[in-house]
Amino acid sequence: MAELAFILIGALLVNNFVLAQFLGLCPFIGASGQYDTAAAMGLATTFVLTLAAASSWIIHQFVLLPLDLTYLRIIAFIVVIAGTVQLTELYLKSTSPLLHQVLGIYLPLITSNCAVLGVTLLALQQSLTFVETLVFAVGAALGFTLVMVLFAAIRERLMHARIPAPFAGAPITLITAGILSLAFMGFAGFGS
């Protein structure tokens, strides 16, 4: 149980995928301009991440390993992730067309979110069990969502700030992301 808690906290804060491992930066910067979009993006990614990590683990364990095809794991996982994203998109399109429209291009882009592929590969690398993989994926996804929500709230506040012209836009966004990453360094060492 303590082991699972460590995995969760580790993926959520200590080795936060965005701010400590620098994965999934495209949606982090691209979809964090508005709070609602960012929160929706976080939830959609959470769903895809968890489902993709679970199905990847199953495919690796019961298809790739027995057939001795582990060298195909990256391709296999990308297909799994793309399939999960397609499923999510179909589901969103039918249940919440508005959200589907708001997320727009960023929804299919979850496919190329390196954090998603990163979670599946890192879970494999650490030879986690199925339950551990699930906890790891949920931790990573919650960490992603947390950072998205915090960052989007900060960016909405920055829109009202009198940023000097040379820093307006991308520069101040990246500076803020850097300071946020600096703040997350305080979690270094938890669970070790």
Partner: protein, 314 residues
């Protein structure tokens, strides 16, 4: 609030820092603390002026608060410099200068100056030097020895790397600590606390974030306290007086720009920062996590302001 008011408040805050700084100089290292204050003050004012000049050139006067480019600083740069002079080890002038430049240029002026910054400038500067040059900012003078002769680990570092010593043991062995009787770090912390109390009394700083931090720290350390065995995570008194806690509680978490506006949000902010300080002290790699905890609290602030907006009176 006009700029004149801001300047007046910032000068009062600087004055409230002085008793602590004076005691720090008297008890720890007169030369080092004086050097720190002079370096931080000079670098702070110079950086502030340069950035203001650059901003008026690139953004046009209309982007600056009225007349700021002409008459100069609103003295908030001085407060940032003094906090860094107090928070960094006496005599460490290179880290002090670097932290001050980072704090003002990156933490404040890149965001458009006072009132627009998301993170507390002093803590941005402090965190940057803490992760960039951990050794240069780790040594504090040992109380009771010839000045500027010896530097040693702080009580927090000793505590972190204790093998089997009991907390009480470290507490009484550590120079400058113990039962408030000996002159030392506890008195310095207390002087900062009194300076802060003056600000609360004058209504110049919000007390809820500060009380929240202390309450969370006391509660968390009571939960982890087992009467001082070697596995203990530290007593409440230890946590309140060790490191720069009272300095941070009085002058950093009370920064009105970077803590939330609403009362409920201020409580949540304070409690979060307090719990984070305890967690980083107890389980993190860094002996003292105040800077990181405050930056994380600052990062939470826009969300809290959004979630619990300030009640507007008609």
């Amino acid at each position: 609030m006009s700029r004149q008011d801001t300047r007046h408040i910032m000068l009062t805050v600087s004055a409230a820092l002085l008793p602590g700084l004076a005691l720090q100089a008297l008890l720890l290292d007169p030369v080092g603390v004086t050097l720190n204050v002079l370096t931080a003050g000079a670098v702070a004012i110079a950086t502030d002026r340069l950035c203001l000049a650059a901003r008026s050139r690139t953004s046009g006067r209309e982007f600056l608060p009225d007349g700021l480019a002409v008459t100069g600083s609103d003295a908030s740069a001085l407060v940032t410099g003094l906090i860094l002079a107090a928070a960094l080890p006496p005599g460490a002038i290179v880290p002090v200068a670097l932290a001050t430049v980072t704090a003002l240029a990156l933490g404040k002026h890149a965001y458009g100056g006072l009132g627009n910054n998301v993170f507390n400038p002093a803590m941005v500067g402090y965190a940057v030097v803490l992760v960039s040059m951990p050794l240069a900012v780790g040594g504090w003078p040992v109380v009771g020895t010839a000045t500027d002769a010896l530097t040693g680990a702080t009580v927090l570092t000793t505590f972190k790397y204790r093998e089997s010593a009991t907390v009480e043991g470290i507490w009484t062995e550590a120079d400058g600590f113990g039962a408030l009787a000996g002159a030392g770090y506890e008195w310095v912390a207390l002087a900062y606390g009194l300076g802060a109390a003056f600000l609360f009394f004058r209504g110049l700083a919000a007390w809820r974030p500060a009380v929240g931090v202390m309450a969370a720290l006391i509660a968390a350390s009571l939960l982890g306290y087992d009467n001082g065995s070697s596995a203990s995570l530290g007593s409440p008194i230890y946590h309140l007086f060790a490191g720069g806690l009272l300095l941070a509680v009085g002058f950093v978490v009370t920064d009105p720009v970077t803590h939330p506006g609403g009362q409920r949000a201020q409580w949540i902010f304070g409690l979060c920062v307090g719990v984070l300080i305890f967690c980083i002290r107890a389980w993190g790699n860094y002996p003292d996590g105040i800077a990181f905890a405050v930056l994380l609290g600052n990062a939470l602030t826009p969300y809290l302001d959004r979630r619990f907006p300030v009640a507007r009176h008609a």
